[in-house]
Every structure is written in C-alpha cells, then in structure tokens.
C-alpha cells in the first residue's frame, strides 16, 4: 500500500472522529446525576453548588460548553478530571498501558488457542476437535465475562491459592515497581533486569487475561473455522490438490493464508471490543487501567473524564482499523492494489 492511500485512509477517519466528538459531548451530558452536586459534597447548600457549577463552566448553555470543549481539544487538552484533579490526558496516558497490556495478553491467549483450534476443526470436520471447537464457541458466547472472572477468582485464588491476590498489576509489598519505560510491566521489569518482579507481574496478569480472553476465544475460533472451511472448499484448493501438493502446503500455504484475511479482520474487531469491555474485568481485578477510570468517572458524572475515555476508545478504534487494513494489504495483493 502506497503512502498516498495510507494518507487517504487516515483522512477518511476524520469525519467519524468529528462525529465521535459530538456524540461524546452529548452522551456525557445525558448522564444522570449532576456533577456540581457531586463535587460540592454532601454538606453543600444551593449556593455552594451554584458556585461549583460556575467554576466548572456548567452554568453555560450546551453550545457554549461545546465550543469550549472543542477549543480545548484543539489545544490538545481534554480538560481536568474532577475525580483525580489532574488533566484527563495525563490520567489516560498513565493508565492506558495497563489496559493495553491486559488486552494484548488476553488477545494473545485467545489467538494462541482459538486459531489452531479453528484450523484443526476445519481440517477434520466432525472430528473430536471440531466438536470441542463448537462446544467452546457456544459456551464462550453464553457466559458473561465478569461472572467467569469472579468464578476464577473464587476458584484459583480463594479455594486453590494458585494465583496472588487479585489486586492490581504488581504486589508492591514483595516487588518493586520497575522504572516506567513502555508502561508494560512485563517489558519494563525485563528491561530493569528484575526477573522476580516479572514473574510477579505475570502472575497478576494470568487470571484477568484468561477471563477477558475467554470472551475473545469464541468469535476468533468461529471465524477461523468458517474462513478455513470456505478456503478449503474453494476452487483453488481443489486445483492445489489436483496438482498433488502436500496436505501441509494445501492447508497452510493455500487455505490458511487465504483464511487469514477474515481472521485478522475479526481480531481487529475483537481487540477493540476487548479494549472497551475490559471495564468489568478491571473492576473485578482492581486493575488500574482506563476501564476502571471510566467507571469511576461515570459514577461521578465527571464529564471531562468520560469524554476523554470515549474519545480515546474512538481513536484506538480508528487506529486499529488502520492497522487491520495495513495487515490485510500485506496478506492480500488485491487490497494492496485497489488503492
């Protein structure tokens, strides 16, 4: 894909981002509750509430508030969060790596399990693997994530004691936080050469990653199986077989690479979905990510923080789609050339 068409794709995302900015603004205004009341505190009287309202600029009309919001955005500011007293941008940047690390681990877990499963299921229809795959897809789709998470905590922490206390990314009583380089603890601990802390961080990651990943398992396995079945039933696989290519070549070089296109698309979708839906998992595991940040912001009707979170998700979504397009272009020459 040339840099020109890449630019065009980025430019194509701008209208949706503008839409997102508007919708975010309206949505956060539609939240129940009055932030001024919340922040004036329980002892406040009408006068002090009014004072808070004015200091927050909430006494202005919506259009005025919107103009201010957009102007701030243009200066790279998402406003200040009332809950933390810090700029929302700083909060998000600081917390994003935690969510990213969790989401990536969850996705990795799901992909490593679901893709081979889907491939095997498609290669041998009606075999044991196929039935396993189908059962998993059904079960995976049926259980709510947070229920599974709670169940896991009860089972593996409370009953069996296999994993450390599900509170945060690293138990700072036993391990020291590595200096922040990437924000990914698994990477930073290694960079700091602290293997103990690495193991500690990994141990904290296992349960939330699996709980979240289980959720991604079903769609990826289903898509892999379906895409593989389509590819294996296609004309070009028949040609490959008629020309005596080995089963391995047919399965991987011919069928799988073609199926990959659909799989990568699904992975992009699932990833953005996970990024948003790990809100619940972060709550259960006390994970200091953007999800738990958003939850407290919503509870406090913290407009700036909520807007910032939704905007972040939208940008992530756009970037993700861009990445998926790029990968698709690498896999499929037809995507590359259509420009």
């Amino acid at each position: 894909m040339g840099s020109f068409s890449l630019l065009r794709r980025v430019a194509g995302a701008i209208p949706s981002l503008i839409g997102v900015i508007i919708v975010t603004f309206l949505l956060s205004r539609a939240l129940p509750g009055d932030p001024a009341v919340y922040f004036a505190g329980p002892a406040a009287n009408a006068e002090s509430v009014q004072q808070v309202r004015e200091s927050l600029g909430l006494d202005k009309s919506w259009p005025e508030q919107f103009v201010r919001y957009v102007l701030d955005l243009a200066h790279g500011s998402l406003g200040n969060a009332l809950t933390t007293g810090q700029p929302v941008l700083d909060d998000l940047v600081q917390r994003l790596p935690a969510s990213m690390e969790l989401t990536l681990c969850a996705l990795l877990f799901a992909v490593v399990l679901a893709v081979p499963l889907g491939v095997l299921a498609a290669a041998k229809p009606d075999s044991l693997v196929d039935h396993l795959c189908r059962a998993l897809v059904t079960v995976g789709a049926a259980f709510p994530t947070f229920f599974v998470a709670l169940l896991f905590v009860y089972l593996f922490y409370y009953l069996l004691g296999w994993v450390p206390q599900p509170l945060g990314r690293l138990d700072e009583i036993y391990y020291s936080m590595p200096p922040t380089v990437t924000g990914f603890l698994l990477v930073d601990t290694l960079l700091a050469g602290d293997l103990e802390a690495f193991r500690g961080a990994a141990a904290q990651l296992v349960l939330p990653s699996i709980s979240l990943g289980l959720f991604a398992l079903a769609p990826i396995a289903r898509m892999t199986r379906a895409a593989m079945l389509t590819a294996l039933g296609s004309d070009f696989v028949r040609t490959a077989r008629a020309n005596g290519l080995s089963r391995r070549t047919v399965l991987f070089t011919y069928a799988f690479r073609n199926a990959l296109l659909g799989i990568v698309n699904t992975m992009g979708m699932v990833f953005s979905f996970l990024l948003g839906s790990n809100v619940l998992i972060e709550q259960v595991f006390g994970w200091p990510g953007v999800g738990s940040y958003a939850v407290s912001a919503v509870i406090a009707s913290d407009y700036a923080a909520v807007q910032g979170f939704i905007l972040l998700m939208a940008v992530a979504y756009v970037l993700l789609n861009l990445a998926v397009d790029l990968v698709a272009g690498l896999i499929d020459p037809r995507v590359r050339f259509e420009g």
Binding site: P125, D235, F236, T239, A242, N243, G244, L245, Y254, N258
Partner: protein
C-alpha cells in the same frame, strides 16, 4: 483396441448422501482412454461429467460414496491402498484443469510461485532452478513475456491467461493424462480456440493423452478423437467422433447432435432437448434413465438392464432399440 488403455474405468458408481436422500450421480459407468488420444465426455448439465473426473482424481466431497469395480491407470490400480497410489500420481502422472480459471488459482499467490509449488513438490528441483522451470512452463503455454508474468497475481491476468497458467501448472511435470473440465467455459471464442489448439498440440507432440469434458458437441467434434456421451449418470454411447456425428446410435445422442448448431458453438444448443434429466434423488429411477424422455421406448426397456451393443468397431451403445 489392441494396446492396453492408459486409463480404464469400469462399472463406476457414485452416490452422494444428502439431507434429501441419496443422489445417484453415477451408475455403473465404463470408458477407456487410449494413449495419445483426446477423449471427449459430453452431456447436458448435471449428467455427471465433472463428478466422473473428480472420482478419478479423488477430489469428491466428503458426502460421496464411490463404488468402482475397476479404475486402472497405466497398469496401476488407482483405488489401491486407500487411494494412496493415486495421491502419488496427482500432478505428476495425472493432472486436471478446471473451468472458471480465475477462481481456480490461488488469488494471493503469484502465478509463478504456484507453478513452482508443483515443480518443487514432484521433483528434486532446487528453488533456484524452479523459477527458471516455472518460466519455461509459462513459455510453453505461449504466455507472452513469461518473466514478467511470473510475478503476476491471478487478478492481474485475463481469464484466458489464467487458464493458460493453470495448464502450465498441470503440465509442469509432463503428466501422461490431462483431464480438462470445460476449460473454456466463460472464455471468448478466440481464446477458446487458442486454449484447445494448445491442448491438441500437446497431445499430438508428446506422450500425453487428454479427457476433454464439454457440453458442446461441436467442440468435441473439432478436438476429440473419441467421444463418450453421458446422460443422467449413465454412459449411453461411446464412439469415434466422426462415426458418432455421422451415425449416432442412441436416441439421446441423435437429439444432442440435432440440437447442436452446426457452425457457431456460442449458442448453448443442449437447452433445446425436450424434457429434463430425471431427478437423481428418486428411488424409482428407471433402468434406462432416458426412458421418460424417449419416443422409441419398447417394453423391454422397462424390464431388462441396459445392454452394451457394439454397432460398429469401437462404437458401443447402451440401448435396446438403437437407431
């Protein structure tokens, strides 16, 4: 017929299990391919031409049930060893090309690489030499500028070019038999002639034989040495092509010929044969599957299994009342 045939199919039957019942797609078909000839298989849509080829090549869907008395190729039993004998021959001794060449090639792999895959698979060919050989294969099917086309993807080539690539792939290892299943459907008349001339040429100038599957009797008349006429999973007539066109013995063949426009082959003449193929799902298929469309039927057609009558040397017909 003195020399042993290259391929002998004898009494091959094939059912498909489907949700609605068994599709009795082939019922005891027999034919032979001699070395150095092009055998045509003709018949209207659904008569079982493709599935016959798939059965030989072991490319049938999983719901197929094959029962064959004999399937011999160059002295080897193709059914032996859970078909492992055949698997070793595919792409090397027997190759097949398909209709709709655009979808029959891997869309995301350069065509040269696809030819290389076949070369590397079947011979001790080092990758470096493989590229030269692949380009040579492209040149052999008269693709202009083969060095450049080597890197092309199927979507960058015309349908005719794709079909030539597929032929290049099929012929890369110089097989003894090429099965071509309607290789020119969807191609324009000029390209069609180029492709079939190429096949004819290869058969005439190498040790290769070919099966040409088509529903165009005019085409078969032009390019084949002998023709097998199929109807609803039966082989109804087998004859040298000139003999068949001049003196068809089976009423179905006669109607096929009458329905084929003598000059242009662009019109799908077979559509004009009255009546339809019997539904192959039926459990009460008549002994002669042409019975219900035939105006020459006699009592015997309902009671006795089809005969195989030799009306002239090498001209077989399966009918109680041939023309």
């Amino acid at each position: 017929m003195s020399a042993p045939p290259l391929l002998a199919v004898e009494g091959m039957s094939l059912d498909f299990r489907t949700r609605d019942g068994r599709v009795k797609a082939l019922d005891g078909i027999s034919f032979e391919v001699q070395r150095g000839e092009i055998l045509g298989i003709v018949g209207e849509s659904g008569s079982g031409k493709s599935v016959s080829a798939y059965a030989i090549m072991d490319l049938l869907d999983d719901n197929a049930e094959l029962g064959a008395a004999r399937l011999d190729f160059a002295g080897a039993d193709l059914l032996a060893g859970d078909r492992s004998a055949l698997r070793g021959m595919r792409g090397r001794e027997i190759s097949m090309i398909f209709q709709s060449p655009r979808t029959a090639l891997n869309p995301i792999r350069p065509v040269g690489k696809q030819i290389e895959d076949v070369l590397v698979r079947h011979g001790p060919v080092p990758r470096r030499q493989a590229k030269e050989k692949a380009i040579a294969a492209l040149r052999k099917v008269r693709i202009p500028d083969p060095e450049r086309r080597y890197d092309a993807y199927p979507f960058e080539l015309s349908g005719g070019m794709c079909q030539r690539v597929m032929i290049a792939m099929a012929l890369a290892c110089e097989p003894m038999l090429l099965i071509a299943d309607e290789p020119t459907t969807g191609l324009d008349v000029t390209t069609q002639a180029v492709i079939l001339d190429l096949v004819r040429d290869l058969v005439d100038h190498s040790r290769m034989a070919a099966i040409l599957i088509t529903h165009d009797l005019g085409l078969a008349g032009e390019y084949c040495d002998r023709v097998v006429v199929m109807h609803a999973g039966h082989v109804v007539e087998t004859a040298p092509v000139a003999d068949l066109l001049a003196r068809p013995a089976h009423p179905y063949s006669a109607r096929l010929i009458a329905a084929t426009p003598s000059s242009a082959s662009s019109v799908d003449g077979l559509a004009s044969i009255p009546g339809n193929l019997p539904n192959l799902l039926r459990d009460d298929l008549p002994l002669c599957r042409f019975r219900e469309r035939c105006d020459r039927a006699i009592a015997r057609c309902d009671s006795d299994p089809l005969p195989a009558t030799e009306v002239a040397p090498g001209h077989l017909v399966r009918c109680w009342r041939p023309l």
